[in-house]
């Protein structure tokens, strides 16, 4: 150590200028905030027009301020100061419940309008039977060769869904000899009540994850008890709902399965596993209690609320010539049905293509040509896809214009490149060490894909697909091109019926029906509903992505 050579540094070390860096930093911040701020201002304007909070009495505002806003802020602030985990837990619980409510609305619409519970019930059973057969065959995979197992499973599905000789026979005009399981149930002399059918299907679908979650936290027995309790809750809701709240049995069952059960499971689960954060559950309690108390108070005191355009009437009415009576119901349902069709078409095709390109395709000029073109297709304007849909499905394949099937297929084409690209990203992000490990164990490519790559990439694939669906739900131009009606007065009930969608209806209110009331009130209300549905969908993607990142 040559200490005598060192200076003492008593004067410090001098300064290095950072002016340029600081300016650059704040320019970047401004760029980041600019877009967000502009969008936020627009949304505030739109929400103001749609909900019109200023039309309410001052007393109404004061009441809710005292019962809802103040206690919520106080609780939230206290939690943020003392227990951030608790605050997160409370916010998550509330968010889960709200998103669950939105989704149960969508599911309830489907069961009330499109799909009679009996048909749903019949086909769920008709699917469950061959699935059970397939699982049973799989258990004996060592005794029965693959081809026989595959043939038997296919036969089971065919018999259960179509009977014998089924759809193949009907082409050859053979008489139906054995009815399918679906038909048996559809035409059974005695069937359970519709809410029992839903409890046995939707309720079981909802109770199974609850049971698995509980058994993962605790043990098998707790899991079984939790599952049974969940199912009992769903069944009870069908009785309690109509009697107490005045909601029909079908919406009650859906509400219990989609909104109440997941929230309750989450609350119970976290209350057991995260004792530190348990206190955060106060927040949703305060908010819900505050909202109820405020509602009761303004009713008794006689204060008038805001004349919001987003109300029950708006959500449940068809379009009408006068803005005050017009509603978004057929368009909401149309959007839901379109999304289901788009998801059913784009998910298997997109994920299949992504898997092929990532796992099987050789790296040659043809593959690279396809790569480049998929990226380009993602950027093609949506109106061009509309033209493609019109030319392909309507002109070539002779479908009628503007149906759910044609609209869904067109939108599926539109988002297919995005689904492929995001799925490929997810598949590529599976570490190569995992594949190496699997191949090193003597796994075939198929086994590696099934056991290692797909389970690992699945959350990412799902996230990408949901975000792509979010793009499809906002599209207007392709729907106009394929001749979807601007507004609907009745409900689209099957794949071949005409469909409108939320953005299309909003667009037509703003153009063809542009009286002041439509333009200034119905349009903002439609936008608020559209954005809410979009955010609900994206919130699932966000939750999935967070889970995914935690695991990696």
């Amino acid at each position: 150590m040559a200490t005598e050579d060192r200076r003492s540094y008593a004067d410090g070390f001098g300064q290095v200028s950072r002016t340029v860096g600081i300016i650059f930093r704040y320019l970047l911040l401004a760029a980041t905030l600019f877009g967000i701020a502009v969008l936020a201002i627009l949304l505030v304007y739109v929400a103001n027009d749609a909900i019109q909070p200023l039309t309410a009495d001052a007393g109404w505002h004061l009441t809710f301020f005292l019962t809802l806003v103040l206690p919520s802020l106080a609780t939230g602030g206290y939690l943020a100061w003392s227990n951030v985990d608790g605050l997160k837990l409370g916010a998550m619980t509330l968010g889960l419940f709200v998103v669950g409510l939105l989704f149960s609305g969508g599911v309830a619409i489907i069961f009330l309008e499109v799909l009679p519970p009996l048909v749903w019930f019949a086909y769920v059973i008709a699917f469950a039977v061959p699935v059970a057969v397939t699982v049973g065959l799989q258990q004996r995979s060592r005794q029965i060769p693959f081809v026989s197992r595959f043939a038997l499973a296919t036969l089971a599905f065919y018999l259960s869904l179509f009977g014998f000789p089924g759809i193949v026979g009907s082409y050859a005009e053979l008489p139906q000899l054995i009815p399918s399981v679906a038909t048996l149930i559809l035409f059974a002399p005695i069937v359970p009540l519709d809410w029992i059918q839903l409890t046995l299907t939707v309720g079981v679908f909802a109770a199974t994850p609850v049971a698995l979650y509980a058994s993962a936290i605790s043990d098998r027995r707790t899991g079984l008890i939790a599952g049974a309790a969940a199912l009992a809750t769903v069944a009870a809701s069908a009785v309690v709902g109509p009697a107490v709240v005045g909601v029909g049995p079908i919406p009650s069952v859906v509400l219990a399965s989609v909104a109440v059960l997941p929230t309750a499971a989450y609350v119970c689960g976290t209350a057991v596993t995260r004792e530190q954060a348990r206190i955060g559950l106060v927040l949703p309690v305060v908010i819900v209690a505050g909202a109820l108390a405020g509602e009761v108070l303004v009713d008794t005191l006689g204060y008038a609320g805001p004349q919001s355009w987003v109300d029950w009437q708006f959500l449940t009415s068809d379009h009408s010539g006068t803005a005050a009576n017009a509603g978004l119901y057929p368009a909401i349902a149309g959007s839901i049905l379109l999304m289901l069709t788009v998801a059913a078409l784009s998910f298997p095709i997109g994920v299949g293509a992504a898997l092929y390109l990532e796992e099987y395709a050789p790296d040659n000029r043809y593959t690279r040509f396809i790569d480049v073109n998929i990226s380009n297709l993602a950027g093609v304007p949506s109106v061009v896809y509309g033209l493609l849909g019109l030319g392909l499905f309507v002109t070539r394949l002779g479908q009628s214009t503007g149906t759910i099937l044609v609209g869904g297929a067109t939108l599926a084409l539109l988002i297919l490149p995005i689904v492929i690209i995001s799925s490929r990203e997810a598949i590529r992000s599976v570490p190569s060490e995992m594949r190496q490990a699997s191949y090193g164990m003597g796994a075939t490519r198929w086994q590696t894909m099934k056991n290692v790559v797909l389970p690992r990439a699945f959350p990412g694939i799902l996230t990408g697909t949901i975000l792509a669906l979010g793009r499809a739900i906002g599209e207007t131009a392709p729907l106009i091109m394929i001749g979807a009606p601007n507004v609907l007065y009745s409900f689209p009930s099957e794949l071949s019926s005409k469909v409108s969608a939320m953005p299309l209806q909003v667009y037509s209110w703003a153009s063809y029906f542009a009286t002041n009331d439509f333009y200034e009130k119905a349009v903002p209300a439609g936008v608020v509903v559209l954005v809410t549905v979009l955010l609900a969908m994206n919130s699932i993607a966000i939750v999935l992505r967070n889970r995914y990142q935690r695991e990696t």
Partner: protein, 289 residues
Amino acid sequence: MSNDNVESPTEDPTDDDMLLETDVTSGLEEGTQGSRTTHERTIVEAKDVNVWYNQDQALRDITMQVPENKVTAMIGPSGCGKSTFLRCINRMNDMIDAARVEGELYLGEKNVYDDDVDPVALRRRVGMVFQKPNPFPKSIYDNVAYGLNIQDIGGDHDAIVEESLKRAALWDEVKDQLDESGLDLSGGQQQRLCIARAIAPDPEVILMDEPASALDPVATSKIEDLIDELAEDYTVIIVTHNMQQAARISDKTAVFLTGGELVEFGDTKKIFENPDNERVEDYITGKFG
């Protein structure tokens, strides 16, 4: 191994048993290696193996005979081709489009590069442990049972999993948490899990590509003890950067030097005490590499 569906190729440990009971971990001073060569049988034999990555030659005319039920170490500086050679044995190099292998490489009587050899079937006979612990994001049980499931091996999986974990010296640490994710284990435990996974389907040869290089000294010494025990039933071929490790655990040592040449191959004791090749001596004494 308790695995009765797969016939064990390693039924004749001859008189190695007794020899292996002596403490080999203490290194060369015990001097047990020399006498082991008497009854050895060759299980992996390379004849003039050349490997290219595109235009670059990674291995030149490798000819060597790996004895059965022994630990064979491959040492050498980075980029000398020792990992490449390891991956030739179970044809993992097939995965790399640019790689091209010439020459003959026998596992038992069969050239693994014959046209009628299915590389997937080959890999089921040859286990592999990688440099970085790479358990699957599955439960500990499912990790060990992975090979049993994909290779459709019947029998009592619970017993095989337990036995494999015991042989990998991991059972006592994980027996109460078999349902938990393999990724929750520490690095050393993960690597032992990977070894358990590799031995569960009862392969003939276990390839290890620097299995301890990502581990701390305590975990490393556990892995080394384990390798020593594995050699009772399996042929272990291990690539290592750590010459002390090679000296401690191996019976035979192959020294690769830059350019993909196998410079010297022989009993570990001889290589480390009295190598024929001057370059090997320089490498081992740390003058280069």
